[in-house]
């Protein structure tokens, strides 16, 4: 349980060397405690409505269902985060480590359903039973006759946070009740509750009050959640609660805080950086020991050893050296530091360019979102805003020298403006700000392989244009929200089924597959036209280029580009790969003369050798084949 956050050994050298100051002070974990009111009004079913979508559940059950599905979600998306559920106003009382029978009276009418912890399969199953089994629910969800003291409820929550989630960066208490004036007639109880609320505040716990409108006609605060639930326009209470909770996912942490953003010499503002886009990978598998009662996680630890003597080595003894010419070249730690250092962390503008000067291929990692911060430099926000608005308006970008952390590798970056994007309900889906889009260096750019250009004639392009125009995505943009990662979803579906002993799903739900029927319906005819045109144009091209490309043209029958009319599509497509590995003698000779034999693929080379009757060992490597072909020509030249 210990959290030595910086104790990750065995990482790549480079990462190890970079200063990890982004971890910050606290463990980056979130703890959420639901406190759900169990009162008679909370247990009243909403009036029956004709609409199928209308709420059927009591507010308490709805809140539990919400907690249940949130737990399922977060167990996957935030596997280290804690969750707990506290019912209050119940007839029964239960707290940590107290059995139900002993009627622990420290917090009367508070029932700790799930203690604050990383939830496991058992917790989920229990919650599932509770929300699905009315009898079980009726037994537990019985309101007490005496009113519950809010001071008690809050102090109970305080103790849960203090003992179970100390030093968490985010601790949140979701209070779900329909009573927005508890202890209305008892000033002493009210004051006591206020004191306990202040305690929670001083402990650093956020209290989020989820109001359930007791009177549908009462004016409610204009948040999206409550509006939706009040109007009953199809969004159920459960969904509105969920969206309310999800929307409160605060930026978990800044990638960097108060970094200097130097807009010009002498003009610095401070910014924070956030990771908004990052590839979500499936959980890594771990080692499990199954020899015990329950499967247990084996924790690996590594020690450094000298390779020759297996003596264990302390970190201070380690010297860094580079391999060079069969030996090592070493530097003192001070020298290593000097080599790595290109100055303090900074984002420094060196000028501006039109956005169109950013080549589409100039990328290798996700961009970082930045937003101004007033903590270090007052006025940062207004200057940042002026820059963002100007860049947006003129569609320009900044070019910047960028060192994200101490001793991090310096890069150049495009500073791209991002406009605020709202969905149809006016809820923000993309925040306004700037993005640091790291650019590759010349060293990182690979050349495009040489190819011969066979330009498609305009008639053929026209046909293709018709195809393209039929198949625009909605609003002509790519909306990532519509495409969940199919392999990630499948992984978690299976994991959940295994953990909860549910039935295994048979087929993945893959939203990334093209909608073949639509494509056929909308563009099918045009593709056929294009296919026919391609046949024709290719024949014409072959005639015109017959002189130069005799051999190629002749062996190239039935080539790849499919899409022709009729049922031939498939066969034609398959016939291609064979013939394409063939290469004419002329081409090979040309390759030999221009010293480009090694640019050809092994398949092509081998096919050619076979045709020429040159024997190759079965396990011939490319170098061997190249040598064989080369010597074939060399020998022939001698003759």
């Amino acid at each position: 349980m210990a959290d030595y956050s910086n104790h990750n050994r065995g990482q790549e050298d480079e990462e190890d060397e970079e200063d990890i100051d982004e971890t910050g002070y606290k463990t980056i974990k979130d703890a959420v405690l639901f406190a759900i009111d169990v009162s008679s009004t909370m247990l009243t079913k909403p009036p029956q409505q004709d609409s199928k979508k209308a709420d059927r559940d009591t507010p308490t059950i709805a809140a539990l269902k919400c907690a249940y599905s949130l737990m399922q979600q977060r167990i996957i998306s935030n596997p280290n985060d804690m969750m707990g559920i506290l019912l209050f106003g119940t007839e029964k009382s239960r707290f940590q480590d107290e059995s139900t029978s002993s009627r622990g009276l420290s917090y009367p009418h508070c029932y700790l359903l799930t203690d604050l912890d990383v939830p496991g399969a058992r917790d989920i199953k229990r919650l599932r039973d509770l929300v699905n089994d009315e009898d079980e629910a009726n037994q537990l969800l019985r309101p007490s006759n005496d009113p519950v003291s809010m001071a008690n409820v809050l102090f109970c929550a305080n103790q849960i946070f203090t003992t179970k989630a100390p030093n968490f960066s985010s601790r949140r208490l979701f209070l779900v009740t329909d009573n927005d004036t508890p202890h209305n007639d008892d000033k002493a109880l009210r004051s006591a509750a206020a004191v306990r609320a202040k305690d929670l505040y001083d402990l650093g716990v956020d209290i989020i009050y989820s109001a359930i409108p007791s009177d549908p006609d009462a004016p409610a605060p204009v948040t999206k959640a409550s509006r939706a639930s009040a109007s009953g326009d199809g969004l159920t209470l459960l969904q509105s609660l969920l969206s309310n909770i999800n929307s409160r996912s605060a930026p978990r942490r800044a990638l960097f805080s108060n970094m200097a953003f130097e807009i010009g010499p002498g003009l610095k503002i401070s910014i924070k950086g956030y990771i908004i886009i990052k590839r979500q990978e499936p959980a890594r598998s771990s080692y499990v020991y199954t020899g015990g009662e329950r499967p247990q996680l084996a924790v690996g630890s590594s020690t450094l050893q000298a390779e020759d003597t297996a003596r264990s080595v302390e970190k201070v003894e380690i010297r860094k050296a580079y391999k060079f010419g069969g030996e090592t070249v070493s530097f003192t730690p001070e020298e290593i530091a000097e080599i790595k250092s290109f100055g303090d962390p900074v984002l420094r503008i060196i000028g501006f360019k039109p956005l169109s000067m950013l080549p589409i291929w100039a990328n290798y990692r996700p961009s970082t979102f930045i937003y101004p911060s007033e903590e270090d430099i007052i006025g940062s926000t207004r200057v940042f805003s002026a820059l963002q608005q100007k860049l947006l308006k003129d569609q320009k970008m900044g070019l910047a020298w960028y060192i994200p952390r101490r001793n991090a590798t310096p890069t150049l970056a495009a500073v791209i403006p991002g406009a605020e994007r709202l969905d149809d309900d006016g809820v923000q889906v993309m925040p306004p700000g700037l993005w640091i889009h790291v650019l590759p260096f010349a060293d990182d750019v690979r050349q495009i392989p040489d190819t011969s250009v066979v330009q498609a004639p305009d008639v053929l392009v026209d046909r293709m244009r018709m195809v393209v125009q039929q198949l625009q995505l909605p609003k002509a943009v790519y909306d990532p929200k519509k495409y969940p990662n199919p392999s990630l979803q499948w992984f978690y579906r299976i994991l959940q089924a295994l953990a909860l002993e549910e039935d295994m799903p048979e087929k993945p739900d893959d939203k990334t597959l093209p909608r073949y029927r639509q494509i056929d319906k909308r563009a099918g005819e045009y593709v056929l036209d294009w296919g026919a045109e391609l046949e024709e144009q290719y024949e014409i091209w072959k005639m015109a280029n017959a002189g130069r490309h005799t051999a190629t043209g002749a062996t190239k029958r039935g080539s790849a580009a499919a899409g022709e009319s009729g049922k031939r599509t498939k066969t034609v497509a398959e016939a291609t790969s064979k013939s394409s590995d063939m290469i004419s003698d002329e081409e090979m000779r040309k390759a030999f003369e221009t010293n480009k034999i090694n640019k050809l693929t092994v398949a092509v080379l081998k096919a050619w050798c076979k045709q020429k009757g040159i024997k190759l060992p079965t396990a011939a490597k490319k170098g061997d084949v190249v040598d064989e072909v080369t010597s074939h020509f060399e020998n022939k030249m001698v003759l």
Binding site: P166, V288, F369
Partner: protein, 717 residues
Amino acid sequence: MAQKEATVYIVDLGKSMGEKHNGREISDLDWALTYIWDKITTTISNERKTAMLAVVGLRTDGTLNALDNSDEDAYEHITVFKELGQALMPDVRRLKQQLVPSNTDVGDAISALVVAIHMITTVTKKLAYTRKIILVTNGNGSVDADGLDAITSKCKEDGIELVILGVDFDDPEYGVKEDNKNAVKDLVEECNGLYGTLGFAIDEMVIPRMKTVRPVHSYRGYLTLGDPENYDTAMAIDVERYPRIMVAKAPSASQFVVRPNMAPGETQSQFAPSDEDLKPSDLAAVKNARTYQVPDEEAPGGKRDVEQDELSRGFNYGSTVVPIEEADKNVTDFESKQGMDIIGFVVKDQYERYLDMSKTNVIIAQRTNEKAIMALSSFIRALYELDTYAVARLVPKDGKSPTMVLLAPSVDADAECLFEVELPFAEDLRSYRFPALDKIVTVSGKELKQHRFLPGDDLMDAMSDYVDAMDLSTFGEDDEGNPSEYATIEETFSPALHRVSQVIRSRAIWPDEKLPPVPEILVKYSNPPQELINNAKASLKAIATAGDVKKVQPKSKSKKGRRDVPKPLSGLDVTALLSAQGGTVKISPQNAVPEFRQLLDRGSHEDVESAFQQLGKIVRDLIRNSVGGSGYARALEATRVMREEATDLEVPDHYNEWMKKLKTEILKEELNGDRKDMWFMIRANRMGLIQSKECGASGAGVGEDEAKEFLSVRLSI
């Protein structure tokens, strides 16, 4: 597989090369050697057996070469110092001794070339090699122009590239024999080689060289539109995919440990490293040894070692561990079939560049398939004309996870291709929300257009002028001197990569010298160009005035010993309720952090001191009473709160004195046993002493070094 290389360096070591010219501080030879060493070390750093090089000395005192015979003197004063082969560090050390000026100026450059050609031919035969001869000379030795024709034809026949670099060849003052120059020039021109001055070559040297990598395809299959399996109307084009961006990494350091020196006489048979005398420093490689443990209450320390083969694979589902049987190990794999399937098309202008995910690739039609090339060309051109990108689902190989990619057309005279950019999935986006930057929305829903967070018109105008003045799109110069884009990607080189490689090579050749300075070209783009800044000065100043940015003074953040008490929306005065108690307040361990803060809120000097003392004691008790590490997290939280408050209230001593005592108590095991793990947590979470730079307080003197020293495990004075 990179091309095999054979390069012969011919270095003029004549007596005259030892002289200094043209105001240089080093001799002509040393100057020439900066070039030679640069080339040689670059080759060595590739660590390839097939990158062969040889070094031949010209105008040496002695003679050593395969062509020398007693009958003629043509090949005298030519010494082969290193035969053609891979060069390693011992060669470098030896060559450094050998490449010094001789006592003679006799020796023929053309003969040296013949020696070099002979060496290359002997070793490389007719195999595929890149053959090269590099001759560096000051050109005042003899050049026997007889038989040049034979040399040129041989060079041409074997494909040997000839590079001749002259010291100050371009300087008319300098006494290069005009005949020699012409002879050499003709020779080089005949062989399609290069002829230039050393100065130019050394200037070129600062431009980092880039490794070229042979493209290897990462997908070969169809680009499809529709489903060819089930529909007759599907399109399929043979394509290949190659990497466009691959980050070139700097060489990485390996970890070593100094071998312990063993006293003579000690038994060391099993330890004695065999090739020790070859290594200048006795470094042993370091490896990672991994062990696995599971919790076991009965085992000492609560943990038990398990062997790796007792373990199976599994995953965490929350706190539940789900083992996966060996037989089911593929159960979580997503089945996928190779393919690049077009989903639909999007408008170019609406694509937000910040969605770019990962390394980009290039898609071309199958290289020897003209019909596919024509088909893809029509696709590329159609996209291009419509200002449209395609979105596709890519599975590079059967069984790999699908990714979504954007396909962007690129139309060029000599290449048509698609660039492929990876797109995010739904799970890859986090929805963090931030307030708008062009308006302020108040709690009541009102929109403000004027606010201290919003720029006024003067600031907007100044920023606009500045951005326009700092335009880089025409600040650069192309080859013909016309205005063009400044700092294109082709002109920028990775500072980390080239710096590391520079210092390694420098250290290898001159082990005793200090690190060379960072080459200018690597940091050229770390600052805006001066000329541009000069033009933008006025608007920059206007931004500073209108923006009125001020550094927050550490002083003004804090209020020595006072806190601002937050006011709840209800207006209820909770502090009044709390402080009604009066007298000294006792902090209860159960509710320590809130009560500590509330005590500080009362603000009197005694209260503050008492608060720190009480919480300090509670932390110690938490550690003392902790079963294993159970109480450490709470102790750490309280420690953090104390540290924050002490910094904020500018009373660092309250914290620092306590922390010093705590460290002593932990390390001396005075808190009920071994509590070192607690100390590691304090360290890992940087809960050390408050430094004076963190805290605005004057004179609260803990310097950076003292703070750093404090965090070490040793108990210092």
